[in-house]
């Protein structure tokens, strides 16, 4: 199982805070997961193909080419605006 979190404007637009993806144990890239999520519906397709989408695996910022495996916590969010 891979836990996927969405934050801020992305969370609101997807109307989803957390999504659980079953995982057969093979190593995946973040891009593979994104493709699966994008195929859910038109709005997910649109929101998850934004060029400014940021991604964290196990709470570390990573590029979309990063690997993910069973048990990981994956998060997608828009550019940050703290400070």
């Amino acid at each position: 199982m891979i836990k996927i979190l969405f934050f801020a404007a992305l969370r609101e637009r997807l109307d989803c805070e957390q999504y659980l993806l079953s995982c057969d144990g093979t190593m995946l890239q973040v891009t593979d997961i994104l493709q699966q999520l994008q195929s859910r519906c038109h709005s997910w397709q649109q929101e998850l193909s934004r060029s400014d989408l940021l991604c964290a695996v196990n709470q570390q910022l990573v590029p979309l080419s990063a690997n993910v495996q069973d048990g990981d916590e994956l998060a997608f969010f828009p550019p940050v605006t703290g400070g």
Binding site: L5, F7, A8, A9, E12, D52, A56, Q59, Q60, L61, A75, F77, P78, P79, V80, T81, G82, G83
Partner: protein
């Protein structure tokens, strides 16, 4: 300078700059203390009622700690205090505090700027403004992205 310390907090409560300053002053061997405080600015015409700071619990603390550690690797610093508030904030309220104690002023200033530049680009925090005209997520500024380039 005998030791280095990092203090990081993510909290909904307000912070007290005086307390943080007094702690930083206790760091031995430090002749320079720089503090930065970020406050909620009003929009023009007082349209801003409040602001909500959303964050990624757990990751925010890790990200802020990593940024403080990077600063300590780059400059000779005695202590770094980094506090970011989350939740609902009104205009004029304090949002973020960075405090640096260092033997030298150049290092203290540089570390303060470095930490704020990285925080603005790397810490998972998002601002939503509640205004007379509706609620809006704040857009990231390209100037904040450009600020990072100077640190190589």
């Amino acid at each position: 300078m005998t030791d280095m310390s990092i203090f990081v907090a993510v909290q909904s409560d307000d912070f007290c700059v005086a307390s943080e300053y007094n702690e930083l002053r206790r760091q031995s061997g430090c002749g320079a203390i720089v503090t930065f405080s970020g406050l909620v600015r009003e929009l023009s015409d007082n349209q801003l009622h409040s602001m909500t700071l959303e964050h990624y619990p757990g990751m925010t603390e890790q990200a802020l700690t990593a940024i403080a550690e990077q600063a300590q690797q780059r400059w000779q610093l005695g202590a770094v205090h980094l506090i970011h508030r989350v939740g609902s904030l009104k205009p004029h309220e304090q949002i973020v505090f960075v405090g640096i104690a260092s033997p030298h002023r150049a290092a203290a200033f540089a570390a303060g700027e470095f930490i704020m530049d990285y925080l603005k680009n790397r810490a998972p925090l998002w601002k939503k403004e509640h205004t007379s005209n509706g609620d809006y997520w704040v857009e990231a500024k390209t100037s904040d992205q450009h600020a990072l380039t100077r640190w190589g």
